[in-house]
């Protein structure tokens, strides 16, 4: 291509007013203080830049500059010179609202913690004064002060719980927040009445402390999801979803995919992945649609051929007209399947909700029975109600509210280190229950990159020469050869013949790399194809010497070991692939997976998963690619490698990074450990309450006992959660 493309990032630039512009960039590989200083210094050195600040937590750079001649593309180039790959970043609405929610929770937590400390400061003299010689007037004064602090603080800090409880009640449901809200409101109301009546006990301290502990749990939960969202957002930006758009017949510009409209014409060069759906209007090539269909055989593309986002262009340049979201396309079909599958998933009930559904009626019934019991025994209504409220306070699910988020936070931190990102908060519970793992083959068990499988058969000098020649080709198969040969310096004077191969002169002999027919090795290649029908063949000739390279997607390096380990943990494994039978059979045999199906469509995959579900299996689907998105959503729990098309990234419960398959195993181990600890924590919380409830029913609960029970059980549960950091290796 002779045309030089310009880059247009204006879509991402924000105008701050008063002549200042702002852009956020996601940067790959920023991990230390050194990088941070290097990037900030490097970017600040550009003229007109007024701010360059790296955020090491979410790996982004915020830049501000004076409006004028400076092109934002310059920042990207500057970062590339410094050795970092960067890409403009647009905060998704979901991420922005999570960040806002997280700040709100932190404000609530701050208010509640402030109030707890000050109310406690007032409560301790009252507790000690009640057994010594405090004047009733002094006690009332302290109670009134406590009320003055606790009531407004609870009204503000309790909002997250009151709102959620109200919306649950409006839909005639019960969640964890209903007993919490009732407990807090009753405790505060009763304390106020008791204070007015100059009574000995008030429970302002217990109510506000309860809110503080619960807000800690909420904040941890929120923060875990926010971190994952930020990393996933960066990865989406770093996948550099750009397209080369024709401004006119001769003028092209690189724009973000978000700025592409249906009807635009884009250029797809050899070796590029298509970022849009559309139809070829000009050009001739072969495309690899393995990300979309799972099929590894290349499809010829010419005028009229539909191409989908995620397709890899292999040989020639194509002009593609971007299609409107037409009904009946592959994408529309997949989206429809996806919606259905996601609806089915939402019926799953989280462990915490299940616990609260059991817990709330028991607690409320106990309180009611306590009140009635005391009245029947001859106590006054006032005393009976005070005792009943004490039961509610002491059983308020404080530790219960912490039991699950603390474990989730610790476990997700551990998974993060193992290269697994959590997309859904309740994925840990579902993952721990999985007993049947369904793998997609292409891009999941195999690596999305191509590799040379017969490197050992080729003399080293030939290999390195072929690699250097391959550097001059745009063809993805050729780049696999170049990479396998570790080639660095291209041959001078190499000529690429589009759709055929590359040729050059070396030591006076003509060398060629490309199609077997281009190198005069067609007969040799035909024989080879029978041995390994899956591989793409690239021929190399030096004068009369001919060599063949077999290139294909290799298995992930540790795939066999991980499959064996999964089996040892009692999980069944299975392959469902859209690829041809020969390819799938070979992979299944190599990995020792007995159960496999080839040539499966997205609808067939869902049918198979439904069938397994009816047999009572909890299916974990590990897959990538657009064709897997609906089956990922249909499965009990799902996981995707990060290289996948962006559609599947958003539906998988977990995503993993890097070449090995080990994160799949690590995720299962951590999830099982975490579920074990969650259950243990729930039991601990309930046992702790069970000790205190008889005291409450007997009318012996003083505010001191309520406070001790609440903080004791909460701290115990938090400490137990820390054990989710490590897994005992069996």
């Amino acid at each position: 291509m002779a045309m030089q493309a310009t880059r247009d990032f204006s879509h991402y630039v924000k105008d701050l007013g008063s002549g200042l512009k702002h852009i956020d960039l996601a940067v790959e590989g920023v991990s230390c203080a050194g990088c941070m200083a290097k990037i900030e210094r490097g970017l600040s050195a550009l003229p007109d830049v007024t701010l360059a600040r790296v955020n090491l937590t979410n790996r982004r750079v915020a830049l501000e500059w004076k409006q004028g001649t400076l092109d934002p593309a310059r920042f990207i180039d500057r970062l590339a010179e410094l050795g970092y790959k960067a890409y403009p970043f647009e905060t998704e609405r979901a991420e922005a609202s999570e960040a806002e929610q997280s700040r709100f929770l932190l404000r609530c937590l701050a208010v509640a913690a402030f109030a707890t400390m000050n109310v406690m400061m007032l409560s301790i003299p009252v507790w000690s004064g009640n057994v010594s010689d405090m004047l009733p007037e002094q006690r009332d004064f302290f109670h009134w002060l406590s009320a003055l602090i606790a009531l407004p603080a609870a009204a503000y800090a309790g909002q997250p719980f009151f709102r959620s409880a109200w919306s649950a009640l409006c839909t005639r449901g019960v969640n964890m927040d209903v007993p919490i809200s009732i407990g807090v409101i009753l405790a505060l109301g009763m304390s106020l009445v008791e204070t007015v009546n100059h009574a000995e006990h008030a429970y302002f301290d217990a109510a506000i402390m309860l809110l503080t502990f619960l807000l800690v749990g909420r904040f941890l939960d929120q923060n875990m999801r926010r971190r994952t969202r930020a990393v996933a957002g960066n990865l989406a930006a770093l996948k550099a979803e750009t397209a080369t758009k024709f401004l006119s017949a001769e003028e092209i510009t690189v724009v973000p995919v978000a700025a592409i409209q249906p009807g635009d014409v884009v250029l797809l060069r050899p070796g590029e992945r298509c970022a849009v759906d559309g139809t070829v209007i000009d050009g001739r090539s072969e495309i690899d649609q393995s990300l979309i269909t799972g099929e590894t055989v290349h499809v010829p593309a010419e005028q009229g051929t539909p191409v989908y986002a995620g397709s890899l262009n292999m040989s020639g340049s194509l002009r593609v007209r971007v299609s409107a979201a037409a009904e009946g396309t592959l994408l529309a079909e997949i989206t429809r399947l996806l919606d259905n599958a996601l609806q089915a998933r939402s019926r799953y009930m989280r462990l915490a909700d299940r616990a609260s559904r059991l817990y709330a009626p028991v607690v409320h019934a106990t309180a009611l029975v306590t009140v009635l019991g005391w009245v029947l025994l001859g106590a006054s209504w006032h005393d009976a109600i005070v005792t009943g409220v004490a039961v509610l306070i002491i059983t308020c699910p404080c530790a219960l509210g912490l039991a699950i988020p603390t474990v989730q936070t610790v476990a997700s931190g551990a998974m993060f280190k193992a290269g697994v990102l959590l997309n859904a908060g309740d994925a840990i519970e579902r993952l721990a229950e999985a007993d049947h793992v369904v793998f997609d083959k292409t891009g999941t068990l195999t690596l999305p990159e191509l590799e040379v499988t017969n490197a050992a058969e080729i003399p080293a000098d030939v290999f390195s020469l072929a690699g250097r020649l391959a550097l001059s080709s745009h063809h993805p198969v050729a780049s696999a050869v170049a990479q396998a040969a570790n080639a660095r310096s291209p041959l001078i004077g190499a000529v690429e013949e589009p759709g055929q191969g590359v040729r050059a002169e070396f030591d006076g002999v003509e060398i060629r790399l490309g199609r077997p027919s281009f190198c005069g090795a067609a007969a040799l290649a035909a024989a080879r194809a029978d041995v390994d029908p899956e591989a793409s063949i690239v021929a190399f000739s030096r004068g009369e010497e001919k060599y063949l390279f077999a290139v294909r997607q290799g298995l992930r390096p540790d795939a066999k070991a991980i499959i064996t380990a999964l089996k040892r943990r009692g999980l069944e494994t299975e392959i469902l692939s859209g690829d041809r039978e020969v390819a799938v059979r070979a992979a299944a045999a190599a990995l020792g997976i007995a159960e496999w199906r080839a040539g499966v469509t997205p609808a067939d995959k869902i049918a198979r998963i439904e069938q397994l579900k009816r047999q009572g299996r909890k299916v974990m689907m590990v897959g990538d690619g657009m064709n897997d998105a609906p089956s990922l959503a249909a499965a009990h729990v799902s996981m995707s490698p990060i290289s996948a098309a962006h559609l599947s990234q958003s539906t998988a419960d977990l995503v993993f990074l890097g070449k090995p398959l080990a994160p799949v195993l690590a995720a299962i181990d951590f999830a099982r450990q975490a579920l074990h600890l969650m259950r243990q924590n729930l039991l601990l919380a309930i046992a702790y309450n069970a000790l205190a409830v008889p005291l409450a029913i007997a009318g012996l609960v003083t505010p001191l006992i309520a406070a001790a029970a609440m903080s004791g059980s909460s701290i115990l549960v938090m400490l137990n959660a820390l054990r989710a950091r490590s897994v005992r290796r069996s």
């Binding site: 230390c32 203080a33 941070m36 200083a37 210094r41 790296v54 955020n55 090491l56 937590t57 979410n58 700040r103 932190l106 404000r107 701050a110 208010v111 402030f114 400390m117 000050n118 400061m121 002094q138 004064f141 002060l145 602090i149």
Partner: protein, 46 residues
């Protein structure tokens, strides 16, 4: 016990000052990049 008239408001206003300081630090974005802040403290260029 008249000292309470001074001590209680003093204690409360100190607590309130702490809360206001925290909310201000939250608002000014000091918790946006906890990892980076840890490293900035030991970098020597500014």
């Amino acid at each position: 016990m008249e000292v309470l008239v001074i001590l209680v408001p003093l204690a409360l206003s100190l607590g309130l000052a702490g809360l206001v300081a925290f909310l201000w630090s939250l608002k000014s974005g000091q918790y946006e990049d906890l990892d980076g802040a840890a490293w900035r403290a030991i970098s020597d260029d500014d």
